[in-house]
Each structure stands twice: as structure tokens, then as C-alpha cells.
């Protein structure tokens, strides 16, 4: 924490005081970009441009951004079926993401993968995953690889509360710990695995408690507070990078939309959804910062406006892009 900032703004909580104006704006921009990207994707879905299904992370942007923006470009991450935010925070181009959702040849996966498989290994995005828990051991492997290659890369592994009941979770965290690997496990606990309330699916209310089994630090954090998430992420990332081993971070958050496009929300109440809607991480950051008088509203407005333009351009790119050629269907199976 920079003491000069603190001295200047004694009414700020340290997590926020710790962030430079640039970081605040970068985080705001990333969260807003994710939000608008998903809203526009949802709209495109409704209009029939996107088929299949998709899993929106609306309401959960702070966990993706708080963690990923604290990474270096060379670091890696593994993501989930609900991974748009992770990709965008890692720097994915929304135009190439839309193109993928639209099934186009120009998309991240050439139209082969769709929403559940966005990846960009070059840039360290080791991929969303349609298999719940699928990314957990892969992240361990990426961290093992980083260690063996003597790079200082850290791998962040996102997964959900539901995923934490998969055997893969247990095997992955144990391996990461015994081998002291540079990996940060980030559980986005949004209270449900599809319709299954964590109170019914897990023997413990806090996934972070499970860190005990793996002799690693485990911390629960308000997942809708990007500054708080970033603070714990920085500690965990530093620890990983220093060769001190993995950590488990649990971001308590909530998904505002249904699980997927076919969810009828029978398993939760309108009140619960509304309550969490009031805890929007994006509004919260903006309001808190404005309330402190740290930045003027037009800085935020300018970001919002730029994002609107970016979304328009990206969607137009996706629409205008060519479909993949069915004659080339079986290419890209083998290297």
C-alpha cells in the first residue's frame, strides 16, 4: 500500500486506496466490457444470431477482473463454461469472441468451439471448458510446466462452487500443494451449481475451508468487490510466483441470469435475485470511487461510451465474417 495515497484519502478502505486511478479505471473498463459483451451476446442470441446455449456471468464480473487484471500478460488461466469474463479480462478481443459465438471462421476457434470453448493459448488463455472441473487438473499441469520450464508464470484456475464437489478438485489441489506449484485456485461461489444450492451440495458452507485438506491458504472474499478480490489475488499470485505454492480463493458472488438459456429459475426466489442485483460490482466500484471524489464521472462515462462503440464494431465484424467451409470439417483434428 502506498502510504502517500492512504495519507491523502484516509476515508478509503485500504483495498481501494491501494489501487491507482489507472487500475481503478482499467478494472471498471474490464468489468463493464464483460457486462456489455454479455448483454449484447444475450441480445444476439435472442435475435437468432447465436445458437446452442450460453452461460452468462452477469453480476460476477469482479471475480474475473479482480484476479485476472492482477496477472502478468505471460501468466496463464483456465476457465469454465461461464468463462466470457475470464477471457475478456485476459485481453480477448470481443470481436473474435462474437465471431466465435456466431459460429464464424474468424472466431477464436474458427467456429468449432462456441461460447463454451473460447481459448487463446498464445495469450495464456488455456481455455474455457464444457466439463465442470475439467480445468482444475489442467491448471495444475500448466503450473507444473511453468515450474519445469523455470518460467515465472503463474496459472489462475477458475471454477465454480459446484465444481468443488468433483473429484478433480481434490486431486488437483492436492497435487498443486505437494509439488508447491504456482497456481491460484479461484472458486467463483455464486451459491448455485445450476439449480443446486451450495447448502445442499457441499458439506461445508465455505469452499475456502477445504484448503485445510491441502495445507494451503484458503480465503473467502466478497466476490462483488473488485478491490477486495484484487487484494487477495495479489497476495496469492505473489506467493505462487515466489515458489511458495498454491492458494485457494473463494469469491462469494451471484449470477443474475439463469444458469443457461433454458433455466426457468424455479430453484431460487425473485427477492434473492433482486437483492444481489443491488450489489452490482460495476456500479459499486463506480459509486464508491465517485463518492470519494477520486475520479470524475466523465472518466467512467467515456469508458462506457467507448465500449458501446467497440461492441457495435465487434458485432458488425462477427456478422460480416464468413462461415467455416464444411469441406474443411475434418481439418484441425490432428496437428
Amino acid at each position: 500500500m502506498s502510504s502517500s495515497v492512504e495519507a491523502l484519502r484516509p476515508n478509503q478502505r485500504p483495498e481501494l486506496a491501494n489501487l491507482s486511478d489507472d487500475t481503478i479505471l482499467e478494472s471498471y473498463r474490464a468489468m463493464k466490457l464483460i457486462r456489455r459483451f454479455e448483454e449484447r451476446a444475450e441480445e444476439s442470441y435472442m435475435r437468432g444470431f447465436i445458437h446452442g446455449t450460453m452461460h452468462l456471468s452477469i453480476g460476477q464480473e469482479a471475480s474475473a477482473v479482480g484476479v485476472v487484471v492482477a496477472l502478468r500478460a505471460s501468466d496463464t488461466l483456465t476457465s469454465t463454461h461461464r468463462g466470457h469474463g475470464h477471457s475478456i479480462a485476459k485481453g480477448a478481443d470481443p470481436a473474435l469472441m462474437f465471431a466465435e459465438f456466431f459460429g464464424k471462421q474468424t472466431g477464436y476457434c474458427g467456429g468449432r468451439g462456441g461460447s463454451m470453448h473460447i481459448a487463446d493459448v498464445e495469450s495464456g488463455n488455456l481455455g474455457a471448458n464444457g466439463i465442470v472441473g475439467g480445468g482444475l487438473p489442467i491448471a495444475v499441469g500448466a503450473a507444473l510446466s511453468a515450474k519445469m520450464r523455470k518460467s515465472d508464470q503463474v496459472c489462475v484456475c477458475f471454477f465454480g462452487d459446484g465444481a468443488s464437489n468433483e473429484g478433480a478438485f481434490h486431486e488437483a489441489l492436492n497435487m498443486a500443494s505437494i509439488w508447491r506449484l504456482p497456481v491460484v485456485f479461484v472458486c467463483e461461489n455464486n451459491k448455485y451449481g445450476m439449480s443446486m444450492d451450495i447448502a445442499r451440495s457441499s458439506a461445508v458452507p465455505d469452499i475456502a475451508q477445504r484448503a485445510v485438506s491441502y495445507a494451503m491458504p484458503g480465503i473467502s472474499v466478497d466476490g462483488n468487490d473488485v478491490a477486495a478480490v484484487r487484494a487477495v489475488a495479489e497476495t496469492a499470485i505473489a506467493r505462487a510466483r515466489a515458489g511458495e505454492g498454491p492458494s485457494l480463493i473463494e469469491c462469494k458472488t451471484y449470477r443474475i441470469r439463469g444458469h443457461s438459456k433454458s433455466d426457468r429459475n424455479f430453484y431460487r426466489t425473485k427477492e434473492e435475485i433482486e437483492e444481489w442485483r443491488g450489489r452490482c460490482p460495476i456500479e459499486r466500484l463506480r459509486n464508491e470511487v465517485l463518492g470519494l471524489g477520486r475520479l470524475s464521472a466523465d472518466r467512467f462515462d467515456a469508458i462506457d461510451a467507448a465500449i458501446e462503440v467497440e461492441m457495435e464494431v465487434a458485432i458488425e465484424f462477427a456478422k460480416a465474417s464468413p462461415n467455416p467451409d464444411p469441406a474443411r470439417l475434418t481439418e484441425d483434428v490432428y496437428a
Partner: protein, 340 residues
């Protein structure tokens, strides 16, 4: 093969494939307190594809058990329950996830009876939505039934109509052995006549859906439906295809196929799983080592899934598995070859 008992004809109504499956589960649970269902989101949510629907309201959370996301564990729990007097129906949310549960299904459920010297049984049903066509991409669209057809100790069925779905599921629940029940996602909304009363279809019996003399087309799951539609197109061109719905992969009713091939002298097998080492390979090989082989006038033709993971883009996705027109083209091609 007439499975429909005559005295129930009046009690038939139209149900979707999903409703037929739900009705079978409901009737089995009413009749036998040891029958229960477990799986992910099968309770209040009603199942990812809505198949369990309102069963939780009828039978309660004790018999319609929402499980954690833990496919190996829930499969093992089902095995343990089956071994100790219960008749679990396990729903895996997508058949692709059976890769996580494979150990319990293949090393435990399938082998327990034999390993224990015939002194135990595992009356377990594993229901799995499978197949492509919903834009769910490579990890949510596979057809892995061939894997389990390869495993002694398992039975493997693939209903293609609401009627069969109900009758085969009731037979599977009755069966003292583990039965893998592959449902096709694109069939869930298909409607068909289904008697109200419970009835069983013997597992391991194929059915001739359409009689014909020029070529035999054997289809599995949705491909049986497409084969029937293709047969209509072929009929318009003067070709009479005999269409067989295989229904069960293990045991496999090769006799019905042989009988048809002896008549038509030509065989096309259509299936959605990857062509190589898929169900069609077994059918073809079985014919090739049988005496029906001598009746063949043309090479046996397999139409299976392309050698590719299932793609997301809908055009690619369709191109990856046989469509009605592919079957028509294959038949024309085969008959043309044959004639030359």
C-alpha cells in the same frame, strides 16, 4: 415384432419421448419402492432436458435425489445401492460425462456379478442424453454407446420412439443387470403413440420398421428415424428399403439383420457415433462372418459420424453426422454400384 399388447390399444395417447421416459419412471416408482432416481438437477429443475419434470413433486426429494456434481461418485453410489437391494436410475446430465463415471460403470457395475462368482447383481439403469444437433459442441454432443457395447456385463439400449422409450426403460428397470440407456436429445420432443399401462420391450430385439426388398438399412437411435424418412424418399424413386431399428447394441439382435440381408442382399448401417469402431463396425463384421455374407451383392456400407469432434457451427455440426439425404445418396450409390 409386435410389442404392443392388443388389450391396451384403447389406452394409447400421444406422448413425447421425454414424457414417455418420465411416465416409465413414474410407473416403476409407483410399483416398486426400491426404484429411485438420482442425478444432477433432476429435482426442482426437472432435469437439464426436462425429463424428470414433476417427479420430485410426486415422489419427494428422497426418491428423486439431486446430487452434487460428482459423476464418479454418484455412479458409485448407484452401484452400491443396486448391490444392496435398491433399483437406482442414474441420470447423467449429458452422456459425455460418462467418461468421468466410466470406472464405476465398467470396472464395478459390469464386472461385479462375474467377479463375485455370479452371487451378486447390480440392477442399475444409467440414463444419458446423447447426440449432436443442439449446438452444444464437442464436449456435450458425443455418442459413446459403442464403448459400452464393448463391455461384457452391461446392456446398452437406444430407443428411437416414445413407445420404445417407455417399454425399454421399464424393461431396463426390471433387468437385474446394469443397463445403459442412451436417449437422443433431438428426440425428446418427438411425439408418438404410447399406451398408458406399463409394458416392457425385450432388451435385445431389433424391430423392422418398414419392410422392403432392395436394400436393408439398419439405424440406431435418431438414425433409425432418419432412415425411415430416407426410405420414403427412396420409395418415390422406386427403391424399397427395409428399415431396421436396432434398439439394443448389447445384446445385439443380429438375427433380424441377417434375415433381412438374406432377402435384400444389400446393407447400409447408419449411426451417429464416430464411424471408426462405432456400432456399424460390429454390425458389418457380424454380417461378414455370418452366412448372410453369401447373400451380399454389394459391399456393406457404413454411414457413421465423421472422424472429428462435434463442431459448434450448425452447418459443420450437421455435416459431421449422417443426415436423411446422406442415407438416400448412400442407398442410390450402393444400388448403382451393384448394378454396374
Amino acid at each position: 415384432m409386435l410389442d404392443k399388447p392388443k388389450d391396451m390399444i384403447n389406452q394409447v395417447r400421444e406422448l413425447t419421448y421425454a414424457e414417455a421416459i418420465r411416465e416409465a419412471m413414474g410407473q416403476a416408482m409407483e410399483a416398486d419402492p426400491t426404484v429411485f432416481i438420482l442425478g444432477e438437477d433432476i429435482g426442482t429443475y426437472g432435469g437439464a432436458f426436462g425429463v424428470t419434470g414433476d417427479l420430485i413433486h410426486r415422489f419427494g426429494a428422497e426418491r428423486v435425489i439431486d446430487t452434487p456434481i460428482a459423476e464418479l461418485g454418484i455412479a458409485g453410489a448407484a452401484v452400491g445401492a443396486a448391490l444392496t437391494g435398491m433399483r437406482p436410475i442414474l441420470e447423467l446430465q449429458f452422456s459425455d460425462f460418462v467418461t468421468l463415471a466410466a470406472e464405476q460403470i465398467v470396472n464395478q457395475a459390469a464386472k461385479i456379478r462375474f467377479m463375485f462368482g455370479g452371487k451378486a447383481s447390480v440392477p442399475l439403469v444409467v440414463r444419458m442424453p446423447s447426440g449432436s444437433g443442439t449446438g452444444a459442441a464437442a464436449q456435450h454432443s458425443q455418442s459413446l454407446e459403442a464403448w459400452f457395447g464393448h463391455i461384457p456385463g452391461l446392456k446398452v439400449v437406444q430407443p428411437s420412439t416414445p413407445y420404445d422409450a417407455k417399454g425399454l426403460l421399464l424393461a431396463a428397470i426390471d433387468d437385474p443387470n446394469p443397463v445403459l440407456f442412451f436417449e437422443h436429445k433431438l428426440l425428446y420432443k418427438m411425439k408418438g403413440a404410447v399406451p398408458i399401462e406399463p409394458y416392457r420391450i425385450t432388451i435385445g430385439q431389433a424391430v423392422v420398421r418398414r419392410a422392403g426388398t432392395d436394400v436393408t438399412i439398419v439405424g440406431t437411435s435418431i438414425m433409425a428415424v432418419r432412415a425411415l424418412a430416407a426410405a420414403e424418399q427412396l420409395a418415390a424413386q422406386g427403391i424399397e428399403a427395409e428399415v431396421i431399428d436396432l434398439r439394443s447394441i448389447r445384446p445385439m439382435d443380429t438375427e433380424t439383420i441377417f434375415r433381412s440381408v438374406r432377402k435384400t442382399s444389400r446393407l447400409i448401417v447408419v449411426y451417429e457415433g464416430v464411424k471408426t469402431l462405432g456400432v456399424g463396425a460390429e454390425i458389418s463384421a457380424a454380417v461378414a462372418e455370418s452366412d448372410a455374407f453369401d447373400f451380399l451383392d454389394a459391399p456393406i456400407m457404413r454411414l457413421g459420424g465423421q472422424e472429428v469432434p462435434l463442431p459448434y457451427n450448425p452447418v459443420l455440426e450437421k455435416a459431421a453426422v449422417p443426415q436423411e439425404d446422406d442415407i438416400v445418396a448412400a442407398a442410390l450409390n450402393l444400388l448403382r454400384k451393384d448394378r454396374r
